[in-house]
């Protein structure tokens, strides 16, 4: 961390009058006292040498010690003291406040301890967080793991959010002795309470970081939230207590630091819960030694790789050494997501590390968030930048649950605002995240295409045996129907069919494989280019298409053959589906005989009228009497006659179907009634009641077609497809 609660306004007196009045009214108030350093004003540590940092921190500690000594005997409580900035947070009564006011040698001013400038309202909109929320993505359903100093789960900003807890903190007696701060005082604790905030200086850190990533202001009565305000939290406490001044330097002892072995154990716990919790990212706002290149020899790398392989990003603070060409470990691990800090005006923060291999920037300067004790604080550091990215990760994973770490990182890098390190020696330009822009990218990520495939049998002959033969060859093709699922339109640019019997067909003429025809339907036009057989066919999501694979002497598709169709799309994606040739279906059973519609009684009337001619469209007399018959239908109900055919045992055929080229057959209700045939086509469409009769006229040819003994069979076809016949003999 870089700094903590910062007064937002200057006061002309050490204690504002309003604060004094409030103390009188309420008895006690929480205040932040700004210490006056003996030799100089406070300088950001990034601008100091290592020795200068040590001196300034000693000055801070000395001023604090003197100021607190002045409060001896007066009611006060130290809420928090800081190593790197000249502030001390106190709860004081009126007398103690008056003493602070009188201690002008050590106290520069006193302000009320409240969040004067809540800065998440600035940084979250800056990175597009509120716009992502308005699109319905706030991390709901996602868990972020905070590997840190533990979290105050009861803080209103985090209430109800901590769903998983663990602690890895060790007691060691060797070099750099440490003591566990797990609540159960052992080296490991799992379950509720295990991830609680430790109780040492610096243990506010995890609570602050968690609030930036996933705090929700709705329950806290504040008008701002963390980046993924809907996300849940896994708290993994990995810090231990170190008592040695040497180990803690330049911090004062005791301090909290994390053993790498404990951090790895914490990360492994996250990995172990990958199937139980929907974890998008692990936040690690911690770091150690700096590296000017990636540090893939770091012990963290295998577990970070494991996490990445299951879609969990490890987001790590780049460190606060103000380096322009290095980041700290483990942020330097190439498979981690390293995060440097920017200001709210998109400049690189003075303290932030940066390097060409830095993954991202995010706001990390003066970020207000939750603080232990139910309070709020503003702090600066790459620790504050990393959880902006972790929260963004949760938002993006909600929108694109199957997106990989690489895909989300690429989206954040492609859409981020470029920030160039303008500090002395700075050269790199890296993207400051814009989660709303990245959201647009990942949410639009195409659904991977998939195919389903059905073998239809040898049912069409659309393509030939040669590799460019887009035409029939006299042998039925293997015909398949494929259906595309792609979440949108895809353009098919290539098809290949492979058979388990060894054959390959495709739409690439260069390969010399046999041709594969493609059509929208079984009988639709082939869509292959007629010269190259290539395809370039857009298909909507859910669209089906037919493919035709030429057979070779009708033996290439025996039952049991496995056929795999692979479609390649214009965006480079591909999809395959497999089906098996089944045995030819058994011949369909013959349709049940059409129920007899009844009977047709036929009577030959002799050569009684001349109503039709000899040609097949001659609905008129030709000078020769027609063979005339009367038919009576008994069908159990009316029928509509749509066709008549008369067969003579002498070989003649008359009918009302012009296409057949048989002689015309006239129909009338009575011998002398008008012909009922269509005058253009001779067709019939005549309703006849049950028991009704009609007369038919069959033209003779040279008056010899109806000799005695001739058998005449009249068949009437009806509109329902049924038919009935009757027979008469020429007397």
């Amino acid at each position: 961390m870089r700094s903590s609660p910062t007064p937002a306004h200057s006061a002309t007196s050490v204690v504002p009058s309003g604060l004094r009045e409030r103390a009188s009214r309420e008895g006690r108030v929480r205040v932040i006292a700004e210490l006056r350093l003996p030799s100089h004003g406070h300088v950001g540590e990034g601008g100091l040498s290592r020795a200068g940092v040590t001196v300034q921190r000693a000055d801070i500690a000395g001023a604090r010690r003197h100021a607190l000594a002045r409060l001896a005997g007066r009611h006060h409580r130290v809420i928090h003291q800081f190593d790197t900035i000249p502030l001390v947070a106190l709860e004081v009564d009126v007398d103690a406040l008056a003493e602070l006011e009188a201690s002008t040698f050590w106290i520069a001013r006193v302000v009320e301890d409240k969040l004067h400038v809540p800065s998440l309202p600035d940084s979250v909109p800056l990175i597009g967080g509120t716009r992502a929320w308005s699109r319905g993505f706030d991390g709901t359903g996602i868990v972020v793991a905070i590997v840190d100093t533990g979290i105050e789960a009861g803080h209103p900003f985090l209430a109800g959010k901590v769903v998983e807890e663990a602690c890895y903190s060790t007691t060691t007696t060797g070099a750099s002795p440490s003591t566990t701060v797990c609540p159960n005082r052992t080296d490991e604790q799992l379950g509720p309470g295990a991830g609680a905030a430790c109780e040492l200086p610096g243990c506010w850190h995890g609570t602050h970081v968690a609030g930036i990533a996933a705090g929700n202001g709705a329950g806290a009565g504040v008008g701002f939230s963390g980046v993924a305000k809907g996300a849940a939290i896994m708290s993994v406490q990995v810090f231990s207590r170190f008592a040695s001044a040497t180990d803690c330097a330049p911090q004062s002892a005791p301090c909290v630091m994390a053993w790498t072995s404990d951090v790895i154990a914490g990360l492994e716990r996250v990995y172990a819960l990958r199937a139980v919790r929907n974890i998008a990212a692990v936040n690690m706002s911690l770091g150690g030694e700096t590296f000017t290149t990636t540090c893939d020899g770091a012990a963290h790398k295998p577990i970070i790789d494991n996490l990445r392989s299951v879609g969990i990003a490890t987001v790590v603070a780049a460190g606060n050494n103000a380096a322009t060409n290095a980041v700290s470990s483990p942020a330097c691990v190439s498979s981690a997501v390293s995060v440097g800090a920017t200001t709210k005006t998109d400049t690189v923060a003075s303290f932030s590390n940066a390097a060409p291999f830095l993954s991202l920037f995010a706001p990390g300067d003066s970020i207000g968030s939750s603080f232990v004790g139910g309070g709020w604080a503003i702090a600066s550091g790459t620790s504050m930048a990393a959880p902006h990215v972790t929260g963004a990760w949760a938002v993006l994973k909600q929108a694109a649950p199957s997106a990989t770490v690489t895909q989300i990182l690429s989206a954040l890098q492609a859409t981020g605002v470029p920030v160039t390190d303008a500090r002395s020696g700075g050269t790199v330009t890296r993207p400051r995240i814009a989660v709303d822009q990245a959201l647009a990218l990942v949410a639009a990520a195409p659904v991977p295409p998939s195919l389903s495939l059905t073998y239809n049998g040898k049912v069409r002959d659309r393509v030939g045996q040669d590799n460019v033969a887009l035409g029939a060859d006299g042998v039925l093709d293997a015909t398949l129907t494929a259906t595309l699922t792609a979440g949108g339109t895809r353009t098919v640019t290539g098809l290949q069919l492979r058979s388990s019997t060894g054959g390959t067909w495709e739409t690439d003429v260069v390969s010399q494989h046999w041709v594969l025809g493609m059509a929208a339907t079984m009988d639709g036009l082939l869509l292959n280019d007629p010269r190259t057989i290539a395809v370039n066919v857009p298909l909507a999501d859910g669209a089906s298409f037919a493919v035709f694979a030429a057979d070779y002497e009708n033996w290439l598709f025996p039952s049991g053959t496995t056929l795999t169709l692979t479609a390649t799309f214009s965006d480079g994606a591909s999809a395959s589906a497999t089906t098996t040739v089944s045995a030819p279906p058994a011949p369909a059973p013959p349709p049940p005989p059409t129920p007899a519609p009844g009977t047709l009684t036929l009577v030959y009337n002799g050569k009684a009228r001349d109503r039709v001619g000899q040609d097949n469209i001659a609905l008129g007399g030709d000078g020769v009497l027609d063979g005339t018959l009367t038919a009576t239908l008994n069908t159990g109900g009316g029928r509509t006659v749509t066709g008549l055919q008369l067969l003579s045992s002498t070989g003649g055929t008359w009918e009302t179907d012009l296409v057949s080229q048989h002689w015309v057959l006239g129909m009338a209700t009575t011998l002398d009634g008008p012909l009922l045939n269509d005058p253009r086509t001779t067709a019939l469409n005549v309703p006849v009641a049950d028991g009704g009769s009609f007369v038919v006229f069959a033209a003779d040819y040279d008056n010899w077609l109806f000799p005695p003994g001739t058998t005449l069979t009249l068949t009437a076809t009806f509109a329902d497809g049924s038919s009935v016949s009757g027979v008469a003999t020429v007397p």
């Binding site: 007696t173 060797g174 170190f242 053993w259 790895i264 470990s329």
Partner: protein
């Protein structure tokens, strides 16, 4: 009964084969800072394990390697700090004797390095 001379001859004949088996892997890399860090006392280390081509049960292969290291460490010279299920590492607190023992475990130890610390940023 084999004579001392026969035993010596056997040893001479078998040594190259045994050595080839034991030294098929490279010697562990011991971080040069460790001896001074340990000094006369102890220090925490991370041991990178050699688990071979563990295409089957990776967790089991890691556990076997951890067991192999722990079983061969001299008692009272080392304490296991952490075992891991999914990464080939073992965290120990060791003294100089244990460090020497680790340096001889060419078949299961790849590297021994200090267990470093990190701070909140």
């Amino acid at each position: 009964m084999l004579s001392a001379r026969t035993l010596s001859l056997l040893a001479v004949l078998l040594l190259p084969a045994v050595a080839a088996m034991c030294h098929a892997a490279e010697a562990p890399v011991i971080d040069p800072a460790l001896p001074s860090l340990i000094g006369e006392g102890r220090a925490r280390v991370l041991v990178d394990l050699r688990v071979g081509d563990a295409r089957g049960d990776v967790g089991q292969a890691i556990a076997h390697a951890q067991d192999a290291v722990v079983s061969r460490l001299p008692q009272s010279h080392a304490t296991v700090v952490r075992r891991y299920a999914s990464v080939p590492l073992l965290a120990l607190e060791i003294d100089a004797t244990a460090l020497r023992a680790l340096g001889a475990m060419t078949d299961v130890v790849v590297r021994v390095r200090p267990d470093t610390t990190t701070r909140p940023q």
